[in-house]
Point group: C2
Chain length 186, copies 2
């Protein structure tokens, strides 16, 4: 039964983790962000919360651009590595041998193994509590078309999507998952 509790409850997961990338003054960095969402479809706008203590924070604040990358379940160890290590101490692209190309619109790293990526230009930033909320206009889309049906839904015969659970635990949605339709005929 649901009841009031006197401690913070943070129910962000299971959820997709965004790999946030940036290139600034010749330095490339990548971090894992669990708090992120689409905000607007037309024009397309994406938001991501970044802690001000993160190495990536200052880079994106200065560069005013970034990319969002999503990788499949078979690359989910990369998500954990991007989340644990700091770009102030290691070059995560070299350490993890992460292959990428610089995006054409923002120069931000687009991962070879991503199945979806967006390049974003920062259009707003606000400090809320212990994070800053970056709002980015999406200026270039990337997609691995083979992994999706024409209607936009993932083809789970070809793509398994990792979801973070918390405490270094991951799960996934794939061809073995249960699916139901709740279509309402009005």
């Amino acid at each position: 039964m649901i009841q009031t509790v006197n401690q913070t409850v943070m129910h962000s997961y299971p959820g997709m983790v965004a790999l946030v990338t940036v290139t600034h003054k010749g330095e490339n960095n990548i971090m894992a962000a669990g708090w992120h969402t689409y905000i607007s479809y037309d024009p397309p706008i994406y938001g991501v919360a970044i802690g001000r203590e993160r190495h990536t924070y200052q880079m994106i604040k200065d560069a005013e651009k970034f990319a969002i990358n999503f990788v499949p379940f078979e690359n989910s160890s990369l998500i954990q590595q991007a989340g644990v290590y700091s770009g102030s101490r290691v070059n995560k692209f070299e350490k993890e041998n992460i292959r990428f190309e610089h995006g054409s619109a923002t120069n931000s790293p687009i991962l070879h193994d991503a199945y979806i990526a967006y390049e974003c230009e920062v259009m707003d930033r606000n400090s809320y509590g212990d994070h800053d909320w970056f709002v980015g206009k999406i200026v270039q889309f990337y997609k691995d078309k083979d992994k999706f049906y024409k209607n936009g839904l993932p083809n789970f015969d070809k793509l398994t999507i990792p979801l973070y659970l918390g405490r270094s635990q991951y799960t996934c949605i794939g061809k073995k998952s249960e699916f139901v339709s709740h279509k309402i005929e009005e």
Copy 2:
């Protein structure tokens, strides 16, 4: 292989849907929101994107408070109903026989069947493209403690979490899902 595409790619799902509730001037309403996230842990702050054409939009804008509710997979048809019907035409609580109590902090409906809920006071709102981004300070937490372990992770023997896929399709994370740990020992 990932490549640039010249059309909008919206990869928000699979993801949890937030049931956003509000009570204003004696009227109760509920809507489904796919674009929402935690923004700050300390203090706890939550954000949600709401289309300006939604009946809920004006109510939350005026009330300056709302609640976020998460319901289990067995109630996922409710998510679809909250998303399809408009509170301007039907009282969704009566139509769907949704049981709730008014939250102690904001008077917003807290669903009996929710397993987690937050009451929020609006602390900021910005228009970005076709949605407004509401930022809410969480002022009261609710939890169905039986469905979680002490470490905060869901007990999937007792809770199956619904995820929206798009196009009225839902999937879930539960005891039959695949789990992996990517714990890094530094």
